[in-house]
Every structure is written in C-alpha cells, then in structure tokens.
C-alpha cells in the first residue's frame, strides 16, 4: 500500500509548490541596476542632434527616465499619463527614444504631446542595453546623485504613478 501511495505523495508536494508559485510573479526580475549609478552615456538630442544629453545631466535633481519609441504600442498607452505628470511639474521626465526613426518620433510627439524635458536619441539601442532595457516602455527613477532607485517595466498606469512612483519621488526629493 505504501509503495502505491508514492505517486500521490509526490503529487501533493508538487501541488504545494504550484500553489506557492501562483502567488508569485515570475516576470518580476529585480534589475541588477537598482541602487547603482546610472550607466554613463552621451547621446544626441532627438530634436536637436547637435546637442547631447549625458548621464551628468541627470544629476542634481530627482528625475524619471522613460524609454519609448513611436513603434511601441505600450508607449501610446502610457503617453497620456506621462503628459499629465509633466503638466503637474512634480518631476522632470527625460526620454530615451529607443530604436526609432527621428522623423517618426518627432511626428509622434507632435500628434500626442511632448512631456519630456529632453529626449536622447538612441538609434541603435546601444545605451538601452547598458540600462538593461528589454523592451519599451520602461521607466526608471533616478535620484539626485544619479543613482537608479526604481524601474518599472511595461506601460505606466495611473495607479503605479500615484502609489509607487510619486511617493518615491517625493521621498527622494525630501531626503
């Protein structure tokens, strides 16, 4: 009898693990860059290729870095939220335009509004690789010392902005 109970026993153990696993989100991979200085970069601006945006421009002030592209559906989804956030002037938003075409990106901003303080144009995605970006949109919170404090993968939602990002930003601004 004991011998024949073995398959059922193994199965019970399996079910326990599956039940625990259900309550965890396997896609949440903690970024190794959290609490590390933002990777160095120097990229031409989207609107003015003669000027550059570098990691040093991010220091001195708490800021958001938003990775986006005109081909990206999720960016379209989160865009109104970014525009509203920019209007509230709580925190500057820098854009990292990712694997895009300059003309299309400009057109896109004209049509839907431009929430960005400045936009770096990362045509071949090289800088995005350093930042550990695996798809647009992604949003980073960088503190005054230029250290990455938070990363959100996927489109921003009103809840994420209200409950996570803004509280964090005001904590960093006060601290």
């Amino acid at each position: 009898m004991i011998r024949y109970l073995l398959p059922a026993t193994v199965f019970v153990v399996l079910v326990v693990f599956l039940a625990v696993g259900l309550n965890r989100d396997p896609t949440r991979v903690p970024s190794p860059l959290i609490d590390k200085p933002a990777p160095t970069f120097a990229l031409p601006l989207l609107k003015n290729p003669d000027q550059t945006l570098t990691h040093r421009d991010l220091q001195g002030e708490v800021s958001l870095i938003n990775v986006w592209a005109s081909w990206c559906g999720g960016c379209y989804e989160e865009h109104p939220i970014l525009v509203a956030l920019a209007r509230s002037h709580q925190v500057p938003i820098y854009g990292l335009n990712y694997k895009d075409q300059r003309a299309k990106a400009m057109e896109w901003l004209e049509e839907y509004g431009d929430p960005y303080a400045a936009i770096a144009f990362d045509e071949n995605g090289r800088v995005a690789i350093d930042w550990g970006v695996y798809g647009a949109p992604e949003t980073f919170v960088v503190d005054r010392q230029g250290i990455i404090r938070y990363k959100h993968i996927g489109p921003l939602t009103a809840e994420v902005v209200q409950d996570t990002i803004l509280p964090l930003v005001s904590r960093l601004q006060d601290g």
Partner: protein
C-alpha cells in the same frame, strides 16, 4: 443574441456533463442498467451543445461582433477570414472552449466505437470523461466566459496577437489539444478498470487504439509547433525547451511509454499496475500542461493572460482529478497482481527499460521546467533553466533508448538469448557504424565524434527497423509478397515509427552540426557567399498586407551562376498591435534549407541580415510525420476493429501476430 445562445448552450452542456458524470457511475456501482444507459445520450447531447457554443463564438468572430469582449480582444475588421476563425482559439477563453469541444468530441467517438465493451465498463469510461468535462465547463463559466459582453460596442477590435497570425498556428492548437485531451480516453479506461477491478489484457487491448490515436495527434501537434517556431521566430531554431513546449513534450514521452507498456500488458498480462499508472500520468501531465500555460506560473514565450483566480481554479481541478485518481490507484492497484513472469533477457525487459528511460526523461524535463518555480517558492532566488540543462540530461537518456529500438522488436517474449540477438544484429551494427563514419564525410566533408554517434544511432534505428520487418517476412514461411501482405498493420506501424525516429535523429545531428549561420550588414547590391550559395541583396520595399505594413527584402540566391531561389523575408508591423514581427523567407528542399531573416534597418538602405544554411532540417519534421503515420497504421490495425465487432471473433488474429504467445483475450 447569438452569444447568449452560445452561453446558454454551454450551461446546458454543463448540466448534461453532470448527468453523464454521476448517473452512469452510480448505475455501474449499483448494477442499475437504466442509470448506466444515461451515459451515451448525455455524452452525445453534451457534444452537440458544445458544438453549438463553439459555432456561436466562431460566428461572432466572422461577423466582427465586438460586443463580445473576447472577440474585441482577439480580432479586427482587417483580420483575414481564416485568422478570424483560428482566432477563436487564439486567447485564453476560446482555447478553453476548444479544449471542451475536443474532450466532448473524444467522448462522442467513444460512444460510437465502444459498443462491444461490457455495459458497466463503458458506462464508467463515459462517466469519467463526463466528470473531467464538468471541471472544464465550470472553469469556463465561472472564470473565463468566452461570451462576456462589452457595452457600448467598440468600433474596432484589438486584433489577434501577430505571432499567432501564421498558417502553422491555425492547425497547431487543435492538433495539440486533440493529443492532450485524447489522453483522457486512456485515463478514463484506466479509472474505469480500477473502479471495476478488471485490469486485464482485454482492458489493455481496448485502450491501445485510443492511446495511439491521441499520440498521433500529439506528435503532429508538437511537430507543427516546432515548424511554426522555425518559421516565425526568425532565428532558425526549432526547439527551445520553453516551458510550454516542455508541457506538450512530457505527455508525449509518457504517452510513448504507455503505448509500449500496453503492448506488454495486452500480450503478456504483465506490467498492469505500471500501465495503469502511466495512463493516469499521461493525462495528468496534459492537465499540468494546461495549468502551466493558463496560470502564468512560469515565464514563457507563449504570452497568455495571467489571472490568479484562474490559476487557483485549474490547480484545484488538477488536484481533484490527479490526486483523486492517484489515491484510487493506491487503493486498488495492490490487488491487481503482477501477471506474466519473464527472464532478464526478453522483450519484456527491453520494453521495461524503454519505459523507465522515457519516464525518467519526462521527469527530468518536469524538474527542469519547474525548478525555477521551486527555487522561487523556497525563496532561493530567480533562475532560469535553459537548453544546456535539457540537452545534457535528455540526450544521454535517448542513446540507450535508440539502441533498444533495434533490440526490442527482435527479442522474444519471456526469454531471449543474447547470442541470437547479437547474431541477427551484427550486420546492422557494422553498417550503422560504417555509415556513422562515412556519411558526414560525404555530406559535409568532415566528421566529429558527436556526428558519428548521431548518424550511427540514426542508421541503427533505421536499418534495424527494416531488418525486423524482414524477420517477420522470414518467419511467415511464405513467398515474400504474400508474407508482406500478411503482416498486420501494427507491425508496419511500428516499423514506420521507428524509421521516423531514425530520420529525425539524422536530421537533428546533421542540422546542428553542419548548419552555417551568418549575421551581417548588407546594403542593396551587396552579395555574400554561404555554404556554396551566393546571396545577393536587392534592397527592401514597402508592401501592404491586409492588416499590416511590411518591409520586404529581396534576395537572389544562385549556385555556380545558376538561379536557385528568390527569397523575400519581411519585417512586419501590424497596425493595431504595433510590435514588429519577423517573417523569415525559406527555400526548402529535401537536403537543405536556405533561410533569410531581416534584422534591424541600418543606415542608407542597409539592413542587418541573418542567413542560414541548414542541411537536412526538413528531416526534423519528416521524422515525426513518419512516427505519426506509424501510429495511424497501428491504431487502424484490423484486430482492434475485429474486437470492435463483437462477434467477428479472433480468427486469424493471433496467428498473424507471430510473436504473440499469450492466450488471446476474450473480445467482449
């Protein structure tokens, strides 16, 4: 209105499933034939109503009824008709409906082809399938209603996931589900046998064609999935050990073991407990596969919506079905007895080792698939288990298994002699090793140990399958044309399937060893050479599909100045779901594929381009097709049909299977 009819039909189907699951089971227990008689009409009625529900959803897709939430999420007015129909199972809710449809279709088939079974047994089989169906229909109605409405109606749908807009994906899920869910028949037979206490050779004989039929579908389903990945993912791979692929491969491995162990149980009455356990496991793994895909506990390329409530439901369903049947097994199996005895060197032993290897292979894949989940649950961090693990554990298990393909069919039941086997197989071994040495030299001009081993194994499987068939001809003591005609289809099926394994192994070996890959930047007018083929790039132009824009490249391929093919790979952007998709262009032939995929656009009209030369890659799909054909031949062997016709008796049956020394089981 139509969606409401669909939903109503589902509710009626659920009621019928309840009837079908409860009444016949109680009837069989209490010996009431009137209750048992409910099984057949309830099952057929349930099938009818699920068909109606499925038809309603399909109709909603065809006429763009975006008031149905599921249609809105998975369709679009620009989506071509054939993709609108396949979109019915392109998302979570619809694929559950397909699951239910397939289950009721199998049950319907059982009601058609099981008239010869004892009434009690038949009632129990149909009832068990009804119980499974209750779980699925409840799941759908409670958490995943495909007919949910959205008001006001959106003007335009969000379109089908572009990854799924591929001919391979039109047929892949139905085939896979036919296989997955088809295992429920063997499962129901096993549970019915455990309940009734009649685990005998007759039970094995009844189960065999059903298991084989489900296995055929599963084989084709997996093959199509691999073919799709090769075409659509754009980097030339054909198997990724992705959790969802593994989820379909595990039931296949256990199903393969089950096919072989059923042979022993039928012919020799041995392995009964083991066989019944395998039947339970094969379906359990199918359910587990459904759970893994539908609950989102694992990261996979197959992105489906994750909803914890659904996950919890399927987990409970899984617990009840699998846990219940394993407890039933623990309760009933000790009384079954072990059946015929056999010596260490015998066909039984060969098949036992075959079973152990296949089940261990499935277990290692299960472990690798769930390992990240285990670690995460124990708080030990996030890891992912990749192809290196699977290759390292899976391949070594397959080596002895392929060796057994040659030995097993030639070994006698009960007791075989090593000397005789060695004598029969000596030339096969020599020929296989010689081919392993020589073929790679002629194909690619070089050889390595891995390639030599691979080709030797492939040749071994192929040649020994033919030698084994020849042995049947020899034993018939008749002129060979009549002897060939006298060999039962089951034997042809086995030969064909084993040949398919040989073909597959040769394909895997040569493709992985001798494929040539190049990633480079090409501007219009540039030419490059790969494995003796010249590829000239003629630039990219815009083309417009029904629901996408594409940039289509043109490559002229020549060999020694002669035109070979024009390849037009595309980079597509679907209008609604704007992620870019790669559509590789492939020129296939029996001995090689030429594969071109567009990467990223670079400056001045130049593109990143990936070129592959893949020798023998089509054999990867030819092999499984041969296996499936073999299964089809075996499942249609006339002795099953003879058994099905109650009074046809077993004349000539045992005689035409020379290896069968067991007394023929009673047909009915």
């Amino acid at each position: 209105m139509i969606p409401e009819i669909g939903q109503f039909a589902l509710s009626i189907a659920l009621c019928l499933a309840l009837l079908q699951g409860v009444m016949p089971l109680a009837g069989a227990q209490l010996g009431r034939s009137d209750w048992m008689a409910v099984a057949q009409p309830a099952a057929r009625g349930q099938f009818l109503f699920v068909v109606i529900a499925f038809g309603c959803l399909t109709y909603a897709f065809i006429v763009h009824d975006f008031t149905v939430l599921y249609v809105w999420q998975n369709s679009n007015t620009a989506l071509p008709l054939h993709y609108r129909i396949s979109a019915v199972w392109g998302g979570h809710e619809g694929s559950l409906l397909l699951w239910a449809l397939v289950l009721t279709a199998w049950t319907f088939a059982v009601t058609l082809f099981s008239r010869s079974l004892p009434a009690e047994f038949r009632a129990r089989v149909i009832a068990v399938m009804g119980l499974v169906s209750i779980g699925m229909l409840l799941f759908m109605l409670a958490t995943s209603n495909p007919f949910e409405r959205v008001f006001p109606a959106p003007a335009e749908g969000r379109d089908l996931n572009p990854l799924l807009q591929d001919p391979g994906l039109v047929v892949h899920p139905p085939m896979l589900y036919m296989g997955y869910v088809g295992m429920s028949v063997a499962f129901a037979f096993a549970i019915a046998a455990l309940l009734g206490g009649h685990l005998d050779a007759a039970w094995a004989r009844w189960s065999r064609p059903w298991v084989t039929a489900a296995w055929v579908f599963l084989t084709i389903g997996i093959m199509l999935g691999s073919w799709w990945a090769y075409h659509e993912l754009g980097w030339g791979g054909w198997w990724f050990w992705d959790p969802v692929e593994n989820a379909s491969f595990m039931p296949w491995l256990v199903g393969t073991a089950l096919i072989h162990s059923l042979a022993v149980t039928e012919k020799r009455g041995a392995f009964k407990n083991w066989t019944v356990l395998l039947a339970i496991l094969a379906f359990s793994l199918s359910l587990l596969g459904t759970f893994l895909v539908r609950s989102g506990v694992l990261v996979s390329v197959h992105a489906f919506a994750n909803d914890p409530a659904r996950g919890i439901y399927i987990l409970m369903f899984l617990t009840v079905v699998v846990g219940g049947s394993l407890l039933l097994y623990a309760w009933r199996a000790p009384r079954v007895g072990s059946g015929g005895t056999f010596e260490p060197i015998s066909r039984e032993t060969a098949l036992l080792v075959n079973n152990i290897l296949l089940v261990v292979a499935a277990a290692t894949i299960l472990l690798g698939t769930l390992y990240p989940l285990f670690l995460d649950a124990l708080g030990l961090g996030k890891i992912s288990v990749g192809p290196p693990y699977f290759a390292a554990v899976f391949v070594p298990l397959m080596l002895p298994l392929v060796f057994l393909i040659g030995v097993g069919p030639l070994a006698r039941w009960k007791q075989a002699r090593i000397g005789e086997l060695a004598y029969r197989l000596r030339f096969v071994l020599i020929a296989a090793i010689a081919l392993g040495m020589l073929v790679p030299l002629t194909v690619a001009g070089m050889n390595t140990i891995l390639v030599a081993v691979g080709i030797t194994l492939g040749a071994w499987a192929t040649i020994s399958a033919i030698v084994n068939l020849a042995a049947y001809v020899q034993r018939a003591h008749r002129p060979w044309p009549r002897a060939l005609a006298g060999i039962p289809r089951g034997i042809y099926g086995m030969t064909c399937a084993h040949l398919g394994i040989g073909v597959f192994i040769v394909g895997v070996t040569l493709t992985s060893a001798f494929e040539v890959e190049r990633e480079l930047r090409m501007a219009p007018g540039d030419a490059t050479e790969l494995a003796g083929f010249a590829f000239q790039f003629h630039g990219v132009r815009q083309v417009e599909g029904p629901n996408y824009m594409a940039r289509q490249g043109r490559f002229e391929v020549t060999r020694e100045g002669e035109a070979v093919a024009t390849l037009r790979p595309e980079k597509r952007i679907y209008r609604v779901q704007t992620s870019p998709m790669t559509d590789a262009a492939i020129d296939s032939s029996f001995f090689r594929d030429l594969y071109v995929a567009l990467g990223e656009p670079l400056d001045r009209g130049a593109w990143g381009v990936r070129l592959y030369y893949k020798p023998f890659v089509q054999w990867l799909w030819l092999g499984p097709l041969m296996m499936a054909l073999g299964g089809l031949l075996a499942a249609s062997d006339r002795r099953y049909r003879v058994t099905a016709r109650q009074h046809a008796g077993l004349r000539g049956d045992a005689a035409s299977v020379p290896t069968s020394t067991a007394p023929s089981p009673g047909g009915a």
